[in-house]
């Protein structure tokens, strides 16, 4: 309408974006940890000897990443010395309260699990692996709920958020394991016979297959999300415009979808390149960069449009 094109805001009070890059990095690290833990337990439960090395690597990665992740949260607090209140004044309706317990219990179970994996105690490592899986899934899932339950923001307020976080956790978790595993192969390749190397390469290719499947699922969910945003209420349309054509388009379309999704998919499905360790390594790095961009777009892009202006 012509008349509304002559409309403008003369004065209002803008507010800063409350949750920034630290929170995006926190989501990224949590989800990497939980993703690699699930892979470790699955590899361990399958009981196949060829998966044993993966189970060990990921058993170390999971608690390590999760000890760094909550530090981001505490640094982000305005009143850092008061963080203990999270364990004393509980609010059952707040996902952050759920998180303070999940973020305590999950690394504990991951450390106990890692201990039994390394001491070779099969039955106890299985037991703590099985206990840890629902915790790991809750740790991915609750971060999605933090965003989904902040209902003022159109990009966040969708049931798809926890699901999207679970799938992207799987994607980045597998990519991280592939990177670490290939790194280990290169580092310790000297003493290995050609047959052993072939076996190891086959294992990496298996993981790349799972990675391709996860990326496809992730891309499908993102497509669903954006398609609904574009046809939904005015704020949803606006945020869809922001991430597809506006300021966050380079991160969303460029880094998250193209660099972190389409290119790795092509690299890992083309027969000429898909069995090459270097290509698999590079594709996994791209995937991890893409998922970090996804966290940034969701957290910062989701708050970019001012609500009171």
């Amino acid at each position: 309408m012509e008349i509304f094109e002559h409309s403008r805001t003369i004065y209002s009070v803008p507010h800063e974006i409350p949750l920034g890059v630290l929170i995006a990095v926190y989501f990224y690290l949590t989800v990497l940890s939980a993703g690699s833990f699930v892979i470790s337990v699955v590899a361990n439960l399958l009981g196949l000897t060829q998966y044993k090395p993966i189970a060990k690597i990921t058993a170390v990665l999971a608690p390590l990443l999760l000890m760094i992740a909550p530090l981001n949260l505490i640094i982000d607090l305005e009143q850092k010395p008061r963080f203990w209140e999270l364990f004393v004044f509980l609010n059952p309706t707040s996902p952050i309260t759920w998180g303070s317990f999940l973020l305590t219990l999950y690394p504990l179970s991951a450390i106990i699990y890692a201990y039994f994996v390394f001491t070779g105690n099969k039955s106890l490592s299985r037991l703590f692996g099985i206990i840890g899986i629902p915790l790991a899934i809750s740790v991915h899932g609750y971060t999605g709920f933090i965003l989904a339950l902040a209902k003022g923001r159109a990009l966040w307020n969708t049931f798809l958020m926890p699901v999207l976080f679970l799938v992207s956790a799987m994607v980045s978790g597998i990519a991280l394991v592939i990177i670490v595993y290939i790194g280990k192969l290169w580092w310790f390749s000297k003493g290995k016979s050609p047959e052993e190397m072939e076996k190891e390469k086959g294992l990496v290719s298996n993981m790349c297959g799972i990675l391709v499947g996860s990326i496809v699922t992730d891309l499908f969910l993102i497509f669903c999300d954006v398609a609904v945003l574009m046809t939904s209420i005015s704020e949803a349309k606006e945020v869809a415009h922001l991430i597809t054509m506006g300021k966050f388009a380079p991160y969303f379309l460029g880094v998250e979808l193209f660099m972190g999704g389409v290119i790795p998919l092509i690299l890992l499905t083309t027969p000429a390149t898909k069995r090459n360790l270097g290509v698999q390594f590079a594709a996994s790095l791209l995937v991890m960069a893409g998922i970090m961009a996804m966290r940034y777009v969701v957290v910062v892009g989701g708050q970019y449009i001012p609500l009171s202006m």
Binding site: I3, F4, H6, S7, R8, T9, I10, Y11, S12, V13, H15, E16, P18, L19, L73, D76, L77, E78, Q79, R82, F83, E85, L86, V88, F89, L90, N91, T93, S94, P95, I96, T97, S100, I146, L149, A150, K151, G152, R153, I233, S234, E235, E238, Q303, P306, L307, S308, M309
Partner: protein, 209 residues
């Protein structure tokens, strides 16, 4: 100074209803608002709000081209929602709702996680740069408890802001709500705001549609 039992203002009703529990709310009659910002200044002075942040302010929008043009004013403050998402989401219960409907923050408890700021659909909360906790409009609860009106209501020269007990059918706010077409901000959020507007402009309430 005008007070809740004041003789010479529109809030001549008693805010402290005797029969039922009070439920405080505000009606902002934009037909009377002249956009003078007296409420913003009074709020700053009363609550010692630091520079660069505001608990209440007047948004100004403009529409049309000369000679068919006009400015619209929209005073903004905490809506003291019936279902406040900030209280629901606060992990340490630092944000809470009093029995009289006023939503407050316990500054000694707030850890400053800023989740409430991200959750609030009205973007009314902010971090106080001096105290380093989250802060927002309190309906001047400290004044109400002593029988005075909120500072912004007290300062408004055209009595565009009217404060009172929504549970008292004889209060000025109840009468205005009964006799006028009223609106709230972002009704679709399901927060049930307790700040009502008479004559609010669509574009001013939400720039985009």
């Amino acid at each position: 100074m005008k007070n809740l039992e004041g003789e010479h203002n529109q809030n001549s009703d008693s805010v402290h209803s005797k029969e039922t529990k009070p439920c405080y709310g505000m009606v902002i009659d934009l037909r009377r608002c002249i956009g003078c910002h007296a409420c913003s200044v009074a709020c700053k002075a009363e609550n010692k709000v630091p520079l660069s942040v505001f608990r209440s302010w007047v948004k100004i929008t403009e529409r049309g081209a000369f000679p068919n043009a006009r400015r619209y004013f929209l005073p903004l403050l905490c809506n003291h929602c019936e279902h406040p998402i900030c209280v629901i989401n606060c992990p340490v219960k630092a944000s809470y709702k009093r029995d009289d409907g006023i939503v407050l923050i316990d500054y000694d408890k707030c850890i400053g996680c800023k989740y409430c700021i991200a959750s609030c659909p009205y973007e009314i909360r902010f971090v106080n740069p001096e105290r380093r906790t989250v802060e927002k409009c309190t309906f001047c609860a400290h004044r109400i408890d002593k029988g005075y009106l909120p500072s912004c209501v007290n300062a408004c020269p055209t009595t565009a802001r009217i404060f009172g007990d929504l549970n008292d059918p004889d209060s000025e706010v109840s009468k205005l709500l009964a006799n006028n077409p009223v609106q709230v901000l972002k009704r679709e959020m399901g927060t049930e705001p307790r700040v009502f507007y008479i004559g609010a402009d669509l574009f001013a309430m939400k720039e985009r549609f």
